[in-house]
């Protein structure tokens, strides 16, 4: 309960902070449109040569793109900024200020930053998804909607856990900025369903960097491809990753000695 109140307050502060820089909203809108435009051009080029890719047709891949943009927005609004701040705080010894507060360390370090304007991506992604769904005369059922949102939630939690694991290594290796760069490169693979990649890459994108669960699985839920097994698999992996990341963070915090104190 206290955790929720804490998250709410940080969210409020984050939003007020962003409102000081309203011009950034316009820049964000432009960036989103450019990214959307290049994405659509890529999609059109592929489908000017073929009518389906790895068993997915054009509108289905448009849905994948919608999920990809939405999830990218969630990551850049709420996950990545917190993890980057954690990395910097570990390096500069500023984490002392968070650790001395009487709240759960993991909750605190996960809610401190929020980039409101990134939600432009979330909204745009949802619109793209809506357009795709209306084109494929999709039968709306309670189950598919539930499956989609639960898969999206689990995907976001998995990406968060992955980031937390990577960031926690900053307790031992200080230079991890390049790993963030690596994540962005690999996340781009989620623009296409992971089924089209060679096996070794598909395994890496499923279990090492959970891009498959973050983008492909929610899209599968909407296009009627998701089996109960996959859904249960996602649930299991989410729980495993969550426990693993929390354990690693606790372990890392024990070896944190602060730089300034």
């Amino acid at each position: 309960m206290q955790g929720l109140r804490l998250a709410y307050n940080y969210l409020r502060i984050g939003i007020m902070n962003e409102f000081q820089y309203r011009a950034n909203l316009y820049i964000q809108i432009l960036q989103t449109f450019i990214a959307l435009g290049t994405g659509l051009i890529g999609l059109n080029l592929v489908f000017s040569q073929t009518s389906e890719l790895g068993g997915w047709d054009r509108t289905e891949l448009l849905a994948v793109m919608g999920v990809f943009i939405t999830m990218g927005g969630i990551i850049r609004a709420a996950i990545q900024p917190n993890m980057e701040r954690l990395m910097e705080d570990i390096r500069d010894g500023l984490l002392d200020f968070a650790l001395t507060k009487p709240a759960d360390a993991q909750i605190l370090i996960s809610v401190r930053e929020f980039r409101l304007w990134q939600l432009v991506d979330v909204i745009t992604g949802m619109i793209v998804l809506g357009v795709a769904l209306s084109q494929m005369n999709w039968m709306i059922t309670v189950w598919s909607v539930l499956a989609f949102f639960s898969a999206l939630m689990m995907g976001a939690v998995m990406i968060y856990c992955f980031w937390l694991i990577v960031t926690s290594t900053a307790f031992w290796f200080v230079r991890v900025h390049e790993i963030a760069n690596l994540f962005e490169g690999l996340y781009a693979a989620g623009r296409w369903p992971v089924g089209i990649y060679p096996t070794w890459l598909r395994i890496a994108l499923t279990f090492i960097i959970p891009v498959a669960f973050a983008v492909t699985v929610p899209a599968e839920a909407l296009t009627g491809r998701l089996s109960l097994q996959t859904w249960l698999g996602a649930l299991t992996l989410t729980i495993v990753l969550f426990i693993a990341s929390r354990t690693l963070l606790k372990f890392g915090l024990r070896s944190y000695s602060g730089a300034s104190a």
């Binding site: 011009a23 820049i27 432009l30 960036q31 450019i34 435009g37 290049t38 051009i41 890529g42 080029l45 592929v46 000017s48 040569q49 073929t50 389906e52 890719l53 790895g54 230079r175 390049e178 790993i179 760069n181 690596l182 994540f183 962005e184 490169g185 690999l186 781009a188 693979a189 623009r191 296409w192 089209i196 990649y197 060679p198 890459l201």
Partner: protein, 267 residues
């Protein structure tokens, strides 16, 4: 002439020594960069397989060759980012550069040329691994190899000059990120970075002639992957030379006006 030669050799030496200290950082940077062509390669190879083995004149093996050569050209393409100009101007870093009796463009060209040496050495094992996995069809002739070698350095010069020009906009306004984003999106599409230009609609291919992008990216790859006739290769080299010379003249013209707007703090 000797003055320039000495400047370039010492600047490149400094940059090699500096970058060689961070092999791991450079490697992570490179792997993050290689994810992009691998994605394109997989997508287009599977399109080609579905369409009976060939699309737009490319077989899966030819796509593999295109995108593996892509990774080398991309390394050659790295130049001082226009986003860095704001930092250069605000921190007064430019003051130091201005004190030297040499045009500041030379500093960028020499520093990044040295860095390339490190990057190419680090790139070789990665290219080897990619070739084992994706089996490119690549049989360049000696002539193509030579033209490619010249073309990638010319491409590097073109990109350095165009990004330098773009960066100079910062002398007039600091709200530049929107402009830069548009520029890079145009580059992605018109250079052959997203897909080989032969897969683009005809009007896009014609449009690409008038921009520097393809001469700084797609053209060198096409030379090595080997679909160009002798005439095409010569025309390409000519276009590259024109962009380098023309760009250098424009840089000089604008620089004279731009530098008057610069007032430094510290340095």
């Amino acid at each position: 002439m000797k003055r320039y030669f000495d400047y370039y050799t010492s600047m490149m030496k400094i940059s090699v020594l500096e970058q060689w200290q961070y092999p791991v950082a450079n490697y992570f940077y490179m792997i993050g960069m290689i994810a992009e062509p691998v994605i394109y390669m997989v997508v287009w190879s599977s399109v080609a397989t579905q369409q009976g083995g060939m699309v737009g004149g490319y077989t899966p093996g030819a796509f593999a060759a295109y995108y593996i050569v892509w990774t080398l050209v991309r390394q050659m393409n790295i130049a001082f980012t226009p986003y860095g100009w704001e930092w250069r101007i605000r921190n007064g870093r430019l003051s130091t550069t201005l004190l030297r009796p040499i045009h500041p463009l030379h500093e960028d060209v020499a520093f990044f040329a040295g860095w390339k040496v490190v990057m190419i050495i680090l790139w070789i094992p990665l290219a080897f691994a990619l070739s084992l996995i994706f089996k490119p069809e690549l049989n360049p002739t000696l002539l193509e190899g030579v033209v490619f070698f010249v073309a990638i350095w010319m491409a590097y010069l073109i990109r350095t000059i165009t990004l330098f020009l773009l960066g100079m906009v910062t002398f007039w306004t600091t709200r530049v990120s929107a402009l830069f984003e548009l520029y890079f999106a145009a580059e992605l599409i018109l250079s052959g970075r997203l897909v080989p230009l032969s897969l683009m609609p005809a009007w896009v291919q014609e449009l690409a002639w008038f921009f520097p992008f393809r001469w700084a990216f797609g053209y060198p790859i096409e030379v090595l992957v080997g679909q160009l006739t002798m005439t095409d290769m010569l025309i390409g080299l000519g276009m590259q030379l024109a962009w380098v010379v023309g760009g250098w003249i424009v840089v000089n013209l604008i620089w004279k006006v731009a530098i008057r707007r610069f007032s430094a703090v510290g340095g």
